[in-house]
Amino acid sequence: MNRQIQLDINKTNLEAEGRQSRPSVVARNRQNQLAKRTFFVITLLPMILIAAITIILVVRSWPILSTYSPKDLFLGSTWKPDSGLFGFWPYITGTFWVTIVGVLLAVPPCLLTALYLSEYSHSFTRSLAKPILDLLAAIPPVVYGVWGLLAIVPFVEDALAPFSKRWLNSIPIFKVAQPTGFSIIAGGIVLAVMIAPLIISVVYEILRTVPNDLRDASLAVGATQWQTIRQVVIPRVIPGMVAAVVLAASRALGETMAVLMVVGNVAQVPNSIFDAAYPLPALIANNYGDMMSIPLYDAALLCAALILLILILIFNILSTLVLQRVLGKNWA
């Protein structure tokens, strides 16, 4: 009915003005429908891609998943592909050590920075912070790796490790057992700087969702800024903050190049932050592509990728769902 009226109006207008004829409404609507359908199919692409990656990794790592019991595979600590021993435990623990150290180092300064930018700073400081965070986020992983190699590894070797040896050696997780700076702490420091821009910008966005009226009300009854932050702002943003940290952790879990270059790559179950470790992404990057002659090695490495993928999917989906809820339309 509507369309008919529209058609008629269009026709009479054209006739009356004697203008060049344009594509008819029918044609334009058909175009629109066609575009809608095409766009819809393209929109399916991301989901298909996620499914395809997961399915292919499961299928290709099935030979090893069906040969060994999950206990041997995931909790076994010997990795000797030549003798058919594939224990992922050193790599899984290595991944978590590096990630946790990185996140622990990043979170306090990042939360404080986000709070500062959102609650205290002048708009000038804020306009200064944006490019700094953008640049930090833009620096490629391999450049972070070079920086880690040139600055952080020597720093750990010459300053942190001797300090820890002198003062903290009795605490197991600070024990220095190897002479080089290639260690979990070096990887953690590099990771902390890499995930900082993400944490700061997401937490900043979350803090901006707290209405100013609440702050004003608290300040008006005589609370200091910090009291306002602690008692009014922070309680409202805790779920979002946790989600931001989990999201950052999932990025850190998968970081390959930068970590690979500074973490030492020794397949052992680490006991101290000064030990070397061998995270899963580094295992894949170092060995995949040239291991075709050893049976099951290929499947084992793809299984490593699958473990990584599943961990990250879980972390990522949980944090994203929370953030979508908290930030609503501002989430990007």
Partner: protein, 287 residues
């Protein structure tokens, strides 16, 4: 009693504020430290031959040549990847805004894009390698481009989505009220209005693509020649940095630092120009 409490909370206030400023300075200093380290270590080995020559015989033992193969290879890879990603990103971003809006389906699509963004690039690399083997493709520029486009797709769509969502609703409604179809709104109004943001998104994705090593490690291969067809393997800057640092010769490692400096400069140029574009071209859009 009253007075003491007053002083204490103000002391805490000053302390916490000081702590926050220190944190901010630490983050800023981190960036400065990284750029300074790369500059100081990279500059001595950076010369004209580095950016204009391909590696000569014995380059990795310390003989002459440069990393032009890697610079061009990276530009080809990231350029191709970005172009391919753009072909799919723009429809998705437009569809998300003009057709889906804040519907449930839109939320699922956005969630899946965020999940894709989170998947580590090494997994994309492995996935690409499996597909390559399955269809009989060798490590090549083409394979690298395809994998990079997968890496860049979610970054580009989400960045576009973010700017398109900020478009004034009035504008879209005005166009619809004049009888435009949604497609016409998307192509003629949204795309034009949001062009600066779209360009920024493209540059962002390009910057991510050019810096990524893990995804091209297995798929693009590595060679000392500049590729002349899509089927040839190609070098890339991140891998050039990585391989040069892996050699035991200090002179080659020096060149690795110089290559890292080149990569950093390219990325900084992209990042700064995208800022410039978003601040200067915005003049011509309706606020």
């Amino acid at each position: 009693m009253m007075k003491k409490r007053w002083q204490r909370r103000h002391l805490i206030e000053a302390f916490v504020k000081g702590l926050m400023i220190v944190s901010f300075l630490i983050v800023a200093a981190g960036l400065g430290e990284i750029l300074w380290t790369i500059l100081v270590q990279g500059l001595p080995a950076l010369n004209w031959a580095m950016v204009t020559q391909v590696p000569q015989g014995g380059f990795y033992l310390g003989k002459g040549g440069g990393v032009l193969n890697a610079i061009l290879g990276s530009l080809y890879l990231a350029g191709g990847g970005t172009l391919l990603a753009l072909i799919f990103s723009l429809p998705i971003a437009l569809y998300l805004e003009t057709y889906l809006g804040d519907s449930d389906w839109g939320r699922y699509v956005r969630l899946s894009l965020d999940v894709l963004w989170g998947i580590p690039t090494i997994v994309y690399g492995v996935f690409g390698f499996i597909i390559m083997l399955a269809i009989g493709l060798r490590a090549s520029l083409l394979a690298g481009i395809v994998v990079l486009s997968l890496v860049e797709l979610p970054i580009m769509v989400r960045a576009m989505d973010e700017v398109i969502r900020r478009m004034p609703v009035d504008l879209e409604q005005a166009a619809l009220a004049l009888g435009s179809t949604k497609l016409e709104v998307a192509v003629r109004v949204v795309t034009r209005q949001m062009l600066p943001g779209i360009i920024t998104a493209i540059l962002l994705a390009f910057g991510r693509g050019i810096g990524d090593a893990a995804s091209v490690l297995f798929t693009a291969g590595y060679t000392d020649r500049i590729p002349t067809s899509l089927m040839q393997p190609t070098a890339s800057l991140p891998l050039a940095v990585f391989f040069q640092l892996g050699t035991p010769y200090p002179i080659v490692q020096q060149r690795g630092y110089a290559s890292a400096l080149i990569l950093t400069i390219i990325v900084l140029i992209i990042s700064i120009s995208s800022r410039w574009i978003s601040s200067h071209l915005n003049k011509y859009t309706v606020k």
